[in-house]
Homo-oligomer: 113 residues x 2
DNA sequence: TCCTTAGTTCAAAATATATTGAACTATTGA
DNA sequence: TCAATAGTTCAATATATTTTGAACTAAGGA
């Protein structure tokens, strides 16, 4: 009943970077960062893509070790693995989130970059 | 006689991350970081791939704004755009380089991750 | 001038990633 | 029990990225 997540030593730098090197996933992470503490389900991200496409991107984030997804009924509760990432790659997530927040919303979403 | 480089505001976060999300390019950046101040030509990176393949990867790094490539005779002198990246995305490159240095050399090179 | 060296370009092939819609599962509320 | 809701999976397609080798350019040195 719970989804697979990599443990700390299975989180790879190159994979984290390539997974975050995508506008949609960067937008999701920015949104999570802006709403830390609030329980986020997949539906909250609907502005970033179709249901089926988000399912794909959210799985990539989980499999890379960037997010944690807890099953709760028919919902999934998604959160950033901040502490894990901070201990594995100190400063990395903070600098990415800061840079992502500085982008205008449109650029965060824009796909044609 | 000089190659095109993006200027500061043309450097995009998603692009930097996706370009660095590759073992070969991460290895090149780690090597540059470990040898800052030393003039590096393409040939120095031969351990990371074939001549033609490196030409491709080094162009990606340059086009993303991560490296600067100066033409010098038949050679190219390649360096990290540290100050530019630091001002655009504070802390990002440092955290990536630190994390990349902590990897064992084999993992830095491994392609089957 | 001729040869060598350093690196680029091109086009083809291989591989990986992203997007879609239809069909599906599981939970929940009426 | 039935229908609705939340999300997943599958297979197909579309698209992008990587890798390769052969042919190329431009600069130096003998």
């Amino acid at each position: 009943m719970s989804l697979p997540h990599p443990n700390l030593d299975q989180i790879s730098l190159a994979n984290v970077l390539s997974v975050l090197g995508d506008q949609t996933r960067l937008a999701v992470v920015g949104y999570l960062a802006r709403n830390e503490g609030v329980a986020m389900s997949c539906g909250q991200f609907s502005e970033f893509g179709s249901k089926t496409n988000l399912s794909y991107h959210l799985a990539k984030l989980r499999e890379a070790g960037i997010t944690r997804t807890e099953v709760s009924g028919t919902s999934r509760l998604i959160s950033l693995r901040r502490d894990d990432l901070d201990s594995r790659f100190p400063g990395l997530l903070d600098s990415i989130i800061t840079a992502a927040q500085d982008l205008p919303a449109l650029e965060r979403l824009r796909d044609d970059a």
